[in-house]
Symmetry: C2
Subunit: 225 residues, 2 copies
């Protein structure tokens, strides 16, 4: 049976965008939302948008999490902990969680160009604390513009993948490389997610100052593949 990828909080712009790109790459997607009908409606719209053989379902977050092999967290930071507590007994052993969360100050009514301090160091490390044994985590996809993810054109951006688990890092790296134009880079340990998350706040600031919508980042001086 082909693997399923749940996109939790997947009705938002970043989640819908990732669902779009991964479904186009042939992955079987389950969009998760607080309410199943909203997720099903988002899945229907995305199927119509992509056309062809796109495999996209919708379900409430817990139902999506229970059946997936890989779960991508695309909720606002303010909703992350509550959801992960709810899902603690739900995950299948071996599930890989990919956290895309950026703890922007906007999540507590502040500016989207500022971060809030997370005691654990990063949203990813906060998430890691709330996963049961046997469920591993990588952090990735933070710096991809939601607007660019909506389409199908190549995206001029690197994805830094941070994880303490080799398998999780490998899976997230392979998924990132399925998005045209994207280069997946080894971002090192999960603790480095704090830097990668904060780059998103910097990109939002560049978007504002330069009046664009989809600033991204490339790293130079690295070996060609």
């Amino acid at each position: 049976m082909a693997r399923k990828i749940a996109i939790l909080g997947g009705t938002g712009p970043e989640g819908s965008g990732l669902a779009n790109r991964l479904a186009r790459a042939g992955e079987h997607i389950v969009i998760g939302s607080r309410e199943a009908p909203r997720a099903q409606e988002a899945a229907r719209r995305l199927c119509a948008h992509i056309g062809g053989a796109a495999k996209i379902e919708g379900a409430d977050n817990a139902t999506a999490a229970a059946q997936c092999d890989i779960a991508v967290l695309t909720l606002p930071f303010s909703g992350q902990a509550a959801l992960l507590k709810q899902l603690k007994g739900v995950w299948k052993p071996g599930t890989i969680v990919i956290d895309t969360t950026v703890p922007l100050a906007a999540t507590v009514g502040g500016s989207p160009t500022r971060m809030i301090g997370v005691w654990q160091g990063s949203a990813a490390e906060a998430a890691a604390e709330l996963l049961p044994a046997g469920v591993s985590i990588a952090a990735a996809f933070h710096n991809l513009s939601a607007e660019l993810l909506t389409g199908d054109a190549p995206i001029d951006c690197d994805v830094l993948v941070c994880s303490d688990d080799e398998k999780a890092k490998q899976v997230a790296t392979e998924l990132a490389a399925k998005i045209p134009g994207v280069r997946a880079l080894n971002g090192g340990k999960l603790e480095n997610a704090r830097i990668v998350e904060s780059i998103t706040a910097l990109l939002i600031g560049l978007n504002i100052r330069y009046k664009v919508h989809s600033a991204g980042v490339r790293f130079t001086g690295l070996p060609a593949k």
Copy 2:
């Protein structure tokens, strides 16, 4: 009289590299060091390296600071506060300080891929607190590889300039643009220096993991100049 640029702590790799590039661009450089003879020796070596009409002097840090119009701070973070306290009564009014400091954990015996927490938010904001009225500050140059700064080839890296002072931001932006290949970007307020500083720790990690020496960063999706 042409302006003078002091490079304080300028005998280290980052400082020497910036002195090299700015002298090549025709700027009058005063390398500052704790001991004047070391600075003078570094200035002599750099003059010989560049040749031609390079204008480079050496002096102790206070003497360099007292005569400059622009001062570039290239000390390790552990030496920054002590020097700025010493210089508080030394600066000419109107001096522009450009801080390049990255508070790497290496400065307290930790890893160069980790940062230490700075109460003010960034090394640049810590520096700002120690400047007298009339001396303004911008943060820039953090992400340029010292190795690449040593030569004269174009550098494939953007420089984010962060400042709350328009004049300081403009001066730092113009200096960055004098380095071949470099694009200077408006990094917003000085508080954003915390993100730009941390990108250096990420680049050092990329250097280690990819076995290179001069990873850099470019931002995509911005308007062409």
